[in-house]
C-alpha cells in the first residue's frame, strides 16, 4: 500500500514537473496568435458577441503638452469638510498615471518629478466617491483644498432601461427605445455597480473647478456611453430664471479624448431652464456619463 501511494505520488510529481516546465508546449502559438481583431479603445465593452459598441465622439485629440511636474500637494475633504482619501487620487498625464499617496488625514503630497503629457490631478474613484479632476501645471502645484462628495450607494443605483427615464440625485436621463448602454465593465465589474447614480457638487467643490458653473454634478458609472444620447433634465436647485439659456459641459477622463480633452471641460450642448422654472433641459442629450457642469448664458 505504501509503495502504491509512493508510485502515485511520484507519478503526480513527474506529471506536475512536466506541466510546470518552462518550455512552452507550442511556442509557435504565440506567433500564430497574431491576426486577431484590434481591441476596442477605451474601457467600455464586453466579451459578449452581441455587444453593440456605441460610436466614439469625434472631438479632436489635443496636441501633446509635456510639462515637467514637481510636487503636487493638497488637502482632500468630503462634503462635510472631513479628511478623506476619496478612494483614489492620481496625478496622470495622457502618457502615464501615478497613484498619489494620501494619508488618512487627507493630505496629498506627491513628488512627481517627471514629465507628464497634459497632466491632471484626478480625485475620487467613481465608485464610492465622485470622480473629479483639476489641471496640473509645470513645477510644483499647491492645489489647496479639494472637496469631493460621496455618491449614492450602489443599492440606490437606477437601472438603465431603453425607452424609459432613469433618475438619481435630481438628474434624469431619458433613454431612446433603441438605446444602447456601454458601461465600463472593467471598473464596474458587476450589475450591482452599474446602475445610474448622480450627486450635486457642493459650493466648495464647484468653486474649486474654477469654471463659473452655476451647478455641477458627478455621474456614475463614469465613462458610460449611451447611444443615442439620452436627453438630460436636471432639477433647478440653483433657482435659475425660467427660459434662461444654458450650456452643458463634460469633464474628460479618457486619454483618447473622444469627447473632451483629458482632465478638462468641453461644451457638449445647450439648453434652457423650463418655462415653469422647475428643471434645466438639455434635449440634445448627454453622450457620456462623467462630471457635468452647467453655465448660464442669460
Amino acid at each position: 500500500m505504501t509503495r502504491l501511494i509512493g508510485l502515485v505520488g511520484c507519478a503526480l510529481l513527474l506529471l506536475s514537473s512536466a506541466a510546470c516546465s518552462s518550455t512552452p508546449t507550442e511556442p509557435d502559438d504565440n506567433r500564430d496568435a497574431s491576426g486577431g481583431a484590434a481591441g476596442d479603445a477605451g474601457a467600455s465593452g464586453s466579451g459578449d458577441s452581441n455587444f453593440f459598441k456605441c460610436p466614439e465622439g469625434k472631438s479632436p485629440k489635443s496636441a501633446a503638452n509635456p510639462i515637467e511636474v514637481g510636487t503636487v500637494s493638497g488637502q482632500i475633504v468630503d462634503e462635510q469638510g472631513a479628511p478623506t482619501s476619496a478612494g483614489l487620487v492620481q496625478i496622470c498625464g495622457k502618457d502615464i498615471c501615478i497613484n498619489a499617496r494620501v494619508g488618512e488625514d487627507g493630505a496629498l503630497a506627491q513628488s512627481v518629478d517627471r514629465t507628464l503629457d497634459a497632466p491632471a490631478c484626478k480625485f475620487g474613484d467613481g465608485l464610492t466617491w465622485a470622480k473629479l479632476a483639476v489641471p496640473v501645471v509645470a513645477g510644483d502645484n499647491a492645489l489647496g483644498t479639494l472637496a469631493t462628495v460621496r455618491l449614492p450607494d450602489f443599492a440606490d443605483g437606477a437601472t438603465f432601461t431603453p425607452g424609459e427615464a432613469v433618475s438619481s440625485g435630481g438628474v434624469t436621463l431619458t433613454l431612446d427605445p433603441s438605446a444602447h448602454v456601454n458601461v465600463d465593465g472593467l471598473t464596474y465589474i458587476d450589475e450591482s455597480q452599474q446602475g445610474f447614480r448622480a450627486v450635486a457638487l457642493p459650493d466648495q467643490a464647484l468653486a474649486e473647478l474654477k469654471q463659473d458653473f452655476v451647478a455641477a454634478y458627478a455621474l456614475s458609472p463614469v465613462e458610460t456611453r449611451i447611444c443615442p444620447s439620452p436627453s438630460l433634465s436636471i432639477e433647478n436647485a440653483a433657482q435659475l430664471a425660467p427660459g434662461s439659456g444654458l450650456e452643458l459641459y463634460i469633464l474628460g477622463f479618457d486619454v483618447a479624448e473622444p469627447w473632451a480633452p483629458y482632465g478638462a471641460w468641453q461644451k457638449v450642448g445647450e439648453g434652457q431652464v423650463s418655462g415653469d422654472g422647475k428643471t434645466l433641459e438639455f434635449p440634445d442629450g448627454l453622450p457620456l456619463l462623467t462630471a457635468i457642469g452647467i453655465k448660464e448664458t442669460g
Partner: protein
C-alpha cells in the same frame, strides 16, 4: 496563485510519498522563487536596468487568448523563460513585456492599440507579454480581472495576472504603464519605457525587428 499552490501540494505529496526512493527533484524546481523552473535560463547578471538580464518569473494567464477563450480550465502557467530563445528556434525575435492596471487610463488607452501592433509585427517575431497587476480599486489583479481585460480589448497576445507585482522590480507599481523590451537571445533588457511612449517605442521596435531580420 492556484497553479502554484497546486504545484507545491504535488511536490509535497510526491516528496512525502516517495520517501527515500523518490526521484531526485531538480534543485531549481524546488528553490525557484517563482515556482517555475527553467534549467536553461540564464542564471546570472540579473538586474533592473538596460543591459541586465531579467530574472525569470512565472505567472498564470493565457498564452493565446484569441485562440483559446479565457476560462478557468484554459489558464496556463507562463514564464519569461517560455520566450527565452537563445538559438532562435522558437521564432521569438523581440519580447515586449508590458504592465497595466485597470486604474491606469494610459494603460487602457495603450491596450486599445496593442492587438493591432501584435497583428502587424507578430509575423516578424515580436511577442507582447501583457501583465495586469491591479484592478480599479488598486487591489491585486485577480484572474477574473484578467478575463475581463482580455474580453474588453480582444487581446491577441499572452496576457497574465501579476498580483505579486513581480514587475515592480523594474518600475514602481504606482506608475504605469511600463514597457520593457527584452532580447530573447539573452533575456537582456534592451529598452525601458515608463509610460505610454508609443511614438518613440514602436519605431524602435520596427527598426530592431528589421535589423535582426537582415542579420539573420
Amino acid at each position: 496563485m492556484r497553479l502554484r499552490s497546486g504545484w507545491l501540494l504535488l511536490t509535497a505529496l510526491g516528496s512525502s510519498a516517495c520517501g527515500t526512493n523518490a526521484p531526485e527533484v531538480p534543485k531549481e524546481l524546488l528553490t525557484s522563487s517563482s515556482g517555475c523552473g527553467a534549467p536553461e535560463y540564464p542564471s546570472e547578471n540579473f538586474g533592473r536596468e538596460v543591459g541586465d538580464v531579467v530574472e525569470n518569473k512565472c505567472f498564470t494567464g493565457y498564452r493565446a487568448p484569441d485562440q483559446v477563450p479565457p476560462a478557468e480550465h484554459s489558464r496556463e502557467t507562463i514564464a519569461f523563460s517560455d520566450y527565452y530563445d537563445p538559438a532562435g528556434t522558437k521564432g521569438v525575435t523581440l519580447l515586449l513585456i508590458n504592465t497595466a492596471a485597470v486604474w491606469c487610463g494610459a494603460c487602457v488607452s495603450e491596450h486599445g492599440t496593442l492587438p493591432q501592433h501584435q497583428s502587424e509585427l507578430g509575423p516578424q517575431g515580436l511577442v507582447i507579454l501583457g501583465t495586469l497587476f491591479e484592478n480599479a480599486g488598486r487591489d491585486p489583479a485577480t484572474l477574473a480581472d484578467l478575463d475581463r481585460w482580455i474580453a474588453n480589448f480582444h487581446s491577441n497576445f499572452p496576457m497574465v495576472a501579476d498580483p505579486h507585482l513581480y514587475l515592480e522590480d523594474y518600475a514602481s507599481a504606482d506608475s504605469a504603464p511600463l514597457n520593457m523590451l527584452v532580447d530573447p537571445r539573452s533575456m537582456k533588457i534592451l529598452r525601458k519605457y515608463v509610460g505610454d511612449q508609443g511614438t518613440v517605442m514602436w519605431p524602435y521596435i520596427e527598426s530592431e525587428l528589421a535589423r535582426r531580420s537582415a542579420a539573420h
